[in-house]
């Protein structure tokens, strides 16, 4: 038997950089260095572990929708151990929202062929956490999301979802869409061998016409939402800072009382 896993990975501006908006109120991707979203490293890691724990023939494809530089994210995933990569790139994709992104990903996943899709819990720039659910809806397969533990056996995916009110054990038959949290286990670092091997692994490039998607369905024009304004949050006015010389606790209590918290 074989198991085809597609891992969706996003190339995002570094969260520790000075992120901001471009003039058209889309996320500025030029001024801040980009990288493979850390939360998608967990998805790659789980795909690798599923592969390592399986007797089946497992093939891991990493898929990204993003600009030219997004290839870096694919390279990183390949150097961690994924087998091949698909890069969907098209100028008309600029400004695509979550609904549009899920359309492009779903078409690409179908074209690639899959038994299991693994996504991260959320992208570190948009932080919507909705793309995996949207993919399940579009692909018409079960959604097994926000797992902190995942396993695949005999065509069934199982996992644990730690929700707000309860921790749930979930189960679904393949094909399915899974997303994993950062509680699922630390992602491995690419080894030197892995980095070298990645250079030879195939990266396919697809554009919108390869996926039968019209330009109007995506991009700023196709978006279902409009950002009318973006303003930098005014810097917080500098607070009072005291050094504890034995009275720090008392002084803090005084402050809290002055603000009516006590």
């Amino acid at each position: 038997m074989s198991l085809r896993i597609v891992v969706t990975v996003k190339y995002v501006p570094d969260a520790t950089g000075d992120r901001h908006f471009a003039d058209d109120l889309t996320v500025d991707r030029d001024d801040v260095d980009g990288l493979l979203s850390e939360l998608d490293e967990y998805a790659v890691e789980q795909a690798l572990q599923i592969s390592e724990n399986s007797d089946d023939d497992v093939e891991i494809t990493v898929l990204t929708v993003g600009p030219e530089d997004a290839k870096d994210a694919l390279r990183k995933a390949l150097s961690m151990g994924a087998d091949k990569a698909i890069h969907v790139e098209d100028d008309d994709l600029h400004g695509t929202d979550a609904l549009g992104t899920s359309l492009v990903l779903a078409k690409a996943i179908e074209k690639a062929g899959y038994d299991l899709v693994i996504s991260g819990m959320a992208s570190t720039d948009g932080t919507m956490g909705v793309v995996p659910a949207l993919l399940a809806e579009r692909l018409g397969v079960p959604q097994v999301t926000l797992l902190s533990e995942v396993s695949v056996e005999d065509g069934t995916v199982k996992g644990r979802r730690d929700g707000d009110a309860a921790s749930e054990q979930l189960e679904a038959s393949l094909p399915a869409v899974v997303s994993v949290t950062d509680q699922s286990g630390e992602a491995r670092y690419p080894s030197f061998k892995g980095i070298m091997a990645a250079k030879k692994k195939p990266v396919q490039s697809w554009d919108l016409s390869d996926l039968d998607i019209e330009a109007e369905e995506v991009g700023l024009e196709g978006a279902y939402t409009v950002v009318d304004a973006a303003a930098e949050r005014p810097a917080r006015t500098a607070g009072t800072i005291v050094k504890d010389e034995g009275e720090g606790g008392k002084q803090l209590a005084e402050f809290l009382a002055s603000q009516k918290f006590i």
Binding site: E137, A231, I241, G248
Partner: protein, 320 residues
């Protein structure tokens, strides 16, 4: 006036506070019609009526507990078709966002997640969002279809606004996808007796500086003296000192209390992402250079093992 659907988050009929906040926001854009599903759905009606629901659509079936997300999407879609609302508001929990996203896709509408405010606008509701770890504030709206908007806890005040709250049964037929993901086991989270982290007016958090699970008792004692919820940084959670359910930050809970007290937390961007919209921020850290001090209204440079117990004592004395 146009009707606005509000998805009700409740536990066996007990309505959670963020839903009541949604009713406040819903009244700014229309007449709130609540949708309550699952066990105890009808028991939510009295509370919802007190806070402005003109109608409460209810439906109970075992599918809501036995399968993940999709049965709720089916029901909410049925409600949208029955009511033709001007907007759909859903609490911004992990599940709420998933339900909202699938609904939006099905009804051909745009979705906005994690709004922190909502106003009526000429072209439909305008949502305020706080992005890039709260360093930017944006105003957005849905430009296609019925706006589907998820709203974060603590985004509006709970207001009494008595309305009819007439209970009506919602007719729901489940889709083939509804039974795709089975819930084979469920362990309810144990109650600590403290307020819910995302709903609390005061949150007291500890980080790596707390240096051990047993030392979290100091943080809990401070929290209890203020009637606060307890939070933790990821470093403290990863070390196994405190449960993940209490993690504050990008991959934990996002909180926006009146008062946030950080002890032994450096203030990394991923932590800030979950607490930067707090009204008043206080930090205790022995490193005067810690980035958390850039955010504070009041900071104490000192050892938390001295400052926190002293603070707790002083609060207790003042409260008598």
């Amino acid at each position: 006036m146009a009707e606005v659907l509000v998805y009700v988050d409740h536990v066996d009929g007990a309505v959670r506070k963020p839903t009541l906040e949604l009713l406040t926001l819903a009244r700014r854009v229309g007449e709130p019609v609540a949708v309550a599903l699952g066990n105890g759905a009808a028991d939510t009606a009295a509370t919802l009526a007190e806070h402005g629901a003109v109608k409460v659509l209810t439906h109970d079936a075992s599918e809501y507990a036995d399968y993940l997300v999709v049965p709720k999407v089916d029901a909410l879609q049925a409600a949208v078709e029955a009511v033709s609302p001007a907007a759909v508001l859903v609490p911004s929990s992990a599940e709420g966002k998933e339900i909202a996203a699938r609904l939006a896709l099905r009804i051909g509408s745009g979705i906005i997640t994690d709004a922190v405010d909502l106003e009526a606008g000429d072209e439909g509701p305008v949502a305020t969002q706080s992005v890039f770890a709260a360093s930017f504030t944006t105003k957005s709206r849905v430009s296609k279809g019925t706006p589907v908007i998820t709203v974060k806890p603590n985004s509006a005040a709970v207001e009494a606004a008595p309305a009819a709250g007439a209970v009506e049964a919602l007719a729901v037929s489940f889709s083939a996808a509804a039974t795709g993901t089975k819930v084979t086991g469920r362990t309810p989270r144990e109650s600590t007796g403290r307020p819910e982290l995302t709903e609390a007016a005061i949150v007291v958090s500890g980080g790596r500086g707390v240096n051990g699970a047993e030392n979290f008792a100091i943080i809990e004692a401070l929290a209890d003296s203020l009637g606060a919820a307890v939070g933790a940084s990821r470093a403290a959670v990863d070390a196994g000192w405190y449960p993940h359910t209490n993690q504050v930050g990008q991959t934990g809970k996002s909180v926006s209390p009146q008062l946030y007290i950080a002890s032994g937390i450096s203030g990394a961007i991923q932590h800030r992402a979950g607490m930067q919209t707090s009204k008043t921020i206080v930090a205790i850290n022995k490193d005067a250079e810690a980035p958390i001090f850039d955010l504070v209204d009041y900071g104490v440079v000192g050892d938390l093992f001295d400052v926190v117990p002293a603070l707790t004592e002083e609060i207790k004395t003042r409260k008598g």
